[in-house]
Subunit: 390 residues, 4 copies
C-alpha cells in the first residue's frame, strides 16, 4: 500500500465519529433478570462522565445519544454544556413511547386516538429537546405491533403511523432529520408495525428528503443480508443511521463485532463503497447495545474499537483491483481481494491512529489503569441507578 493510500486510510479513521448511547452506561438485562452493576450512573450527567472516558481512551467517540425520558433533565442546554466541557456533543434524541401503561396496545398506531395523541405529544417534546441539545436527529423506534392475529387492523395501523410521522416531520427544523428504525419483532410477537427496511423506506420516501432509515444490525430475520440493505439505502440516499450491536439469535444486543466480525466488515465495506464514510454523508454510527453481564464502560470501549477495526479493514480493500476482478468475472480473485483486507491485522494501524488523536494505543489497558472503574464504584453509592425503567 502506498504512503498516500495509507494516509487516506488514516485520515478516514481519524475523522470517524462513533456515537455511544447514554443507556449503554446504565443497567440493562433480559425479561428474566437485570443484574445491577457497581458504579452505574444515577443520572444523565454521570452517563456523560462515563462517555467522556470512552472518548478519551479511543478518540473517536465524542457524541452521545439521549433517550427520553430516561435522560430527562430540567435544563437540556445545561446538559449540552456539561457535555461540551467534557469534549462531547449530544447526538440523536431517542423517543420512548413504549413504557407507559397506556402503550400496552401501541403508541402512534394504537386504536385509541387519545393514546395516539399522547404519544405524538411525546414525540413533539423530543423535537423541542433537540432544539436545546443541538441534536440533528430524532430517532424513532416504535415497539408498536400486535401479539395475536386479528388483534388489530394491520392496514389501519399503517394509516395511523403515517399520520403521526407526517405530523412530526413537519415540526422538524430544516437542519433536523427524522430517523425511522425498523425491527422484526420484540416486544410485538405477531406483527410489528415497522418490521423491515422496506416499510421504513416507504414511509421515509413519502415524508421527504430529511427522513432516513436507521439500520439496527440486530433487527433482522435470520439470514438477512444486512450489507445489501446498507448498499441499497445508500444508493437511494436513504440511509441515515446505524444502531450497531451484534447478535447470534435475535436482538441480542451484544457488543458490535462480537458475534460476526466478518459481517461488520462487510457492512463497513458497503458503507465505504457507497460514500457513507465521507464527512458530509450524514450517516450516524451509533452503538446500541446492552452490557448485561460485562462491565459497561470497557464494553463500550471494546465495541468502539471493533467498529474502528472493521472500518480500517474496509478501507484497506484495494478497490481498483477488486473492480478489475469483478469486471473479469473472477469469482475467487475478487473474493480473495476482499478477504485479504479482512485477514489483515489492523490493530497496529488503528493504534497509530489513536495515538495521533491523542488517545491511547491500548484503550482497554489504559482504562483499566485509570482507576475509573474503582472510582465510580466507590463514589456512585446511594440514589437509584439508571436503567431502562428510569
Amino acid at each position: 500500500m502506498s504512503e498516500q493510500a495509507l494516509a487516506a486510510v488514516k485520515s478516514a479513521l481519524t475523522s470517524q465519529r462513533i456515537e455511544t448511547p447514554s443507556w449503554a452506561y446504565a443497567n440493562s438485562g433480559t425479561r428474566f433478570k437485570v443484574f445491577a452493576q457497581p458504579g452505574v450512573p444515577r443520572a444523565p450527567w454521570e452517563k456523560l462522565d462515563d462517555a467522556a472516558r470512552v472518548h478519551a481512551h479511543t478518540g473517536v467517540a465524542p457524541v452521545v445519544a439521549l433517550h427520553i425520558p430516561w435522560d430527562r433533565v430540567d435544563d437540556y442546554a445545561a446538559l449540552a454544556a456539561y457535555a461540551g466541557e467534557r469534549g462531547l456533543t449530544l447526538g440523536a434524541v431517542n423517543a420512548n413511547v413504549f413504557q407507559e401503561d397506556d402503550y400496552k396496545l401501541g403508541s402512534v398506531t394504537h386504536p385509541d386516538p387519545a393514546v395516539r395523541r399522547k404519544a405524538l405529544d411525546h414525540l413533539m417534546e423530543c423535537v423541542a429537546i433537540m432544539g436545546a441539545t443541538g441534536s440533528r436527529d430524532l430517532k424513532l423506534w416504535f415497539s408498536d405491533g400486535t401479539n395475536y392475529p386479528g388483534q388489530d387492523d394491520i392496514r389501519a395501523r399503517q394509516d395511523r403511523l403515517e399520520e403521526a410521522l407526517s405530523a412530526v416531520y413537519e415540526r422538524l427544523g430544516d437542519d433536523q432529520r427524522l430517523i425511522l428504525e425498523y425491527k422484526l419483532f420484540e416486544p410485538a410477537f405477531y406483527a410489528t408495525d415497522v418490521p423491515d427496511w422496506g416499510t421504513s423506506y416507504a414511509h421515509c420516501l413519502k415524508l421527504g428528503e430529511r427522513a432516513k432509515v436507521c439500520v439496527d444490525t440486530g433487527h433482522h430475520a435470520p439470514g438477512t443480508n444486512i450489507e445489501f440493505i446498507v448498499a441499497f439505502l445508500l444508493r437511494e440516499g436513504k440511509l441515515g443511521a446505524f444502531d450497531l450491536n451484534s447478535r447470534f439469535y435475535a436482538d441480542d444486543d451484544l457488543m458490535a463485532g462480537a458475534a460476526d466480525p466478518f459481517q461488520l466488515f462487510r457492512i463497513m465495506y458497503e458503507v465505504r463503497a457507497g460514500g457513507g464514510l465521507e464527512p458530509d454523508a450524514g450517516i450516524a454510527f451509533m452503538l446500541d447495545q446492552c452490557h448485561n453481564i460485562e462491565p459497561k464502560v470497557p464494553a463500550v470501549i471494546r465495541s468502539v474499537m471493533n467498529v474502528q477495526e472493521a472500518t480500517a479493514k474496509a478501507l484497506l480493500v484495494d478497490r481498483e483491483a477488486l473492480a478489475a476482478a469483478q469486471r473479469a468475472g473472477d469469482v475467487l480473485g475478487a473474493n480473495g481481494i476482499l478477504m485479504d483486507a479482512f485477514q489483515t491485522d489492523v490493530r497496529p494501524l488503528v493504534a497509530d491512529v489513536r495515538e495521533e488523536l491523542g488517545a491511547d494505543r491500548d484503550p482497554l489497558a489504559a482504562y483499566a489503569a485509570s482507576g475509573w472503574a474503582e472510582r465510580i464504584a466507590a463514589e456512585r453509592v446511594g440514589g437509584e441507578q439508571a436503567g431502562w425503567g428510569a
Copy 2:
C-alpha cells in the same frame, strides 16, 4: 350468517380465479434427483390438457401461466387457441434468464454488457410472446446474485437491474404489466439482487403504475410475516401477484396450504381486507409449486382446493364484529373472531360453490374416477418429458 352474507361469500368464491403454472405439470426435483413420473407432458399442449382437467374438476382454475423457453412453441396464437378450446386462457409469461451457460454470474445484472444484452433480448422476446398469447403480465424472477462476498459490486448490479427493468417496462403495452418477484436466496447464496419485497417495491415505484410486486410465499427469511407485506403492498397499490406454495424450511415449493394452513388463511384475510379479492383489483393468484414426489395433476387440484378453502375462511370473518373488538382493544375477542372463521369447516360450502360452477363436489375423487391418470400414463410414452430443463 345471513343469507345475504352467505350469498356474497359464495359469489366471491365463484369469481375467484387461480392460475396454475405450466411447469407444475412437468417433472421437477431437487439438486439431488429429479424423479420422473409416468404420464408427464412432453409438450405445452399436453400441459394444457392437464390444466384443463384441473379446471374441469375445480371450476376456478381457468388460467395457465407459461414459462419461456420451457413452453416455447412456433405459434403462440395457436397455443392460445388450443387453450381456449379447453376453457382456458393463457396467463403470465414467465421469463427465464437463468439456465444458459452465459448466465453463470448473472443475467441483467451480469458484469459483462454482452450477457446483459442477451438477457434483455430474451425479456423482449417474452413481451412479444405476450402479444400473441394475450397475456397481461410479464413475470420476472431473476436468479441474479453472488455466492461470495466481493464477487461483484452490489450497487453496480442495482444500476444494471434498473436499466434493464426500465427498458422492458417501456416496451410493454398499456394493458400489460411488469411483475417483479423477489427471493431471499437460491440459487445465489450470498447476495441476491432482488432479495426482498422492499427491493422489488422500490424498483416498481420508479418504473411506474403498471409495475407491481409478486409475493412468492416461499421466498422469505424465517419468521417473516408475509401477511403484513401483503397488507402493506395492497395499501400502496403495488401488489400484483402471488406465487402460492408452502414451505417448512426454505423455498420448498410444497403444495399451497400444506405446511401452514393458518398462514395461508391470514394471507387471504389480508387480501380480502385490502380489497384484493375484488375482480378489478388485478391480483393474480398463481400457484408455483414443485410436485417432486406426489402425482402432479391431483397435487395441483389439492392446492387449488386449499387456496379456495383458505379464501372461504377469510370471507367468513365477521369484519364488523372484528373491527368493533379491535377498536375496543379486546385482544382475546378480536383474535377469537378471526379464529372462529379459521376453525369453521368450509369444505361443504366450497363443495356447494363448485357444484354451482358445474365442477365436482369432491374434485380429487372425481379425478381419480376419471381415469385421466391411467390414460396419460398409457398414452404419453416416447418423446421427452417436460421438466425444468426443457
Copy 3:
C-alpha cells in the same frame, strides 16, 4: 366414525389433564415493559383461586405447577390442601436459579464452586418441597450459558452440569422424576448449556429411568420439526413433559395454538401415535405462557381449549386408513387423511365432552358471565401483585 370410535375419542378427551402454571396468572412482560393488569394475584393462594376457575370452566385443568421462589409459602402442605379444596392438585415444582445476583454468570455451571453449591441447595430445597406438595416432577430449566465466545469453557460447564444433575437425581424419591428442559437461547446469547433436545436427552440417559426431557414448544431454532422430536423421545421412553405455548419468532410465549394450530395438531398426533395420551404414559401437558397484553384467566382458558381441540383432531385421525396409505406410498392420500382430521370443526365435540365433565360448553362465555374478572379487580387491591420477580 363409528359410535365406538367416537366414544373412545371422548374418553380420551375426558381423561386428558392439562397443567397450568401458577405464573401464567401473574404479571409478565418483555425486557421493555411489564404491563400490570387489574386483579392479578398477590399470593400463591390467589393464583390457585384463578386456576380453579379455569378448571371449573374447562373440566380438564386440575393441576397447577409451582415455581420456587415465586410461590414460596411457609406451609406447602397447607397450600396443597388449599388446592385440594378447590379440586386442584399441585403439579411440577419448577426451580429458579436465574434471578439472584450470584447467578449472573450461571448457576450449576458457574465457574465458582460457591455459586454452584448455592444453586444446588436451591434444587434440593425444591425436592424437599415436592414432598410436601405431593408433586411428582422436579422441572429444571437452566438459563445457564454465556454471551460471548471464550467467556467460559463449554465443556467444563457440561461437567459441572452433569455433577449437579446427578446429585439432584440421587435425592429424588422412587416416584419422583427429574424433567430437564432445553432452550436454544435467551437469556444466554452465545452458548446455552442445555440448548437442544439432544443435550437434555444425553444427560437424562446417563441419569437414569426417571430423568426425562421437557419439550417447550417455543425453545427451538427456526424450522425445527418439533413433532419429530416428540415422536423420537416417545420412542426412546424419554419424553416427560411439555411446556406448551406458541411463537412466531423466538420464545414468544403466546397462547398455545395461537401461532400455528396445525403444528400443535401434528404434535398432538405424534403424542397420540406414540402412546403419550395413555394415562400411564406419564406425559405432563403443561402450559408455559406469558399473557403480557391479554387478560390472564381467559387467556389460560383459551389455551386449554386450543390444546383440547388439537387433541381432539389428533384423535380423529383414521389411523388404519393412514397406515394403509403410508404402506402404499400414497403421498397425497396419506396427507389427505391427516388433513381431514385437521379440517374438521371439533368445537361441538369438545363442547360435548366438557358438558359431560360438568364444565361449560363455552368456557369463555361462561367465564365472562361469571363476574370473576370484575370481582378480582375489585377485591385484589393493595399488596404487591405477583410477577416474575416476586
Copy 4:
C-alpha cells in the same frame, strides 16, 4: 509466544490432514442449473489427479473421499494404488442411496421392504469397497424423509433406520467405523429421518464404539451453535468427522470459511480444546462443498487454506490465560483472549508451515502458475464430465 509454543503450533499444523471429496472436482449446481466447467474430470482417476495438485500445493490434503456410485470403478485396489502413486490415500467411502428411482420415498426407511433391502445391499457394497480401498470410514448420509405431514410414520421410519444401521455396523471390520451424518432438510422438506445431531448421536450410542457422528457445518437450523455440538460430541467420544463448508442461508455448500470465518475458528478452537487435533483422536476433517460458479481446483485449495488458517488461530489461543480469565469470571478479558488469536494474521505462519512441508507459500499463485488449469481444459475434452449424476 515462546519458541516452544510456536513449535508446538507448527507441529500441529504440520500434522493436520484435510480430506477432500472427489465430487468437489466434478460439476455441481442447484436445481435450477448445473454450469459445466472446462477441464472437469471425466473419471475417478482424473479426480485424483486434481486432488494431487491440491495436496502438492498445500501439503496437508493427502486424503480423498469417494462417493459410490459416482466413483465406481472395476478395480478399487487399482484406484488406491493410483492414489498412492500420487501421494494420496483414499478416505471415507460415501454411500449414495438417493439417486435411483426406487428411492423416491426413501431408502433404508422406505415403507417397502424391497426398497430397504436394495438400499442395504448398496451399503454392504460400500463396506466391501472399503476393504479394497483401505478406507477406515463408511460415511452415511440419508436423504430419507417426507415432504408432507402424514406421508409416512415418523416412528416406524426410525425403526427401519435402526435395523439398517445395525446390519451395516455388524458388517464392519474392527478397524472400520460407521459415520452417521445428519441434516435438517433438503431434499426432504417436512421431516428428515436424521435431522439433527441428537438423532445421529442416539443411534450411534446404540450401535457401539465405532459409530460416530459427522458434523456437516451447513446442515443446521439458523442460529444453531455448531461449536457447542462439537464440544459436546468430543466430550462424549462421539465426534467422528466433519463435512466442512459454509453457508449464509441453508446447505449452501460454499467454501469453508467463506461465509463466517469466525465461526470456523470457534469450531476449530473447540476441536483443539477437546483434543480433536491429536493424531489419535480419529476426527476426519473433510471438505464437502459445491463449487458451482468458481473453478474447482483453486476453490478446494482456498478452502484447505481457510481451514488451516482457522486451525492456526485456534492453536494460538493462550489457553492458560483464557482459563484464568474464565475462572475469574472476567467476561471481557476471556473474550478478548480468544479474539486476540482470531485477529492475528496467521498467513505468514501458515506459509512457513507449508514451506517446511515442501508445499507452496502461496498455493493459489503456485497453482495459477502451474498451468494445470489450462492443461486439463485442453486435455479433458470428449467423454462425459463427472457430476452428481454420474
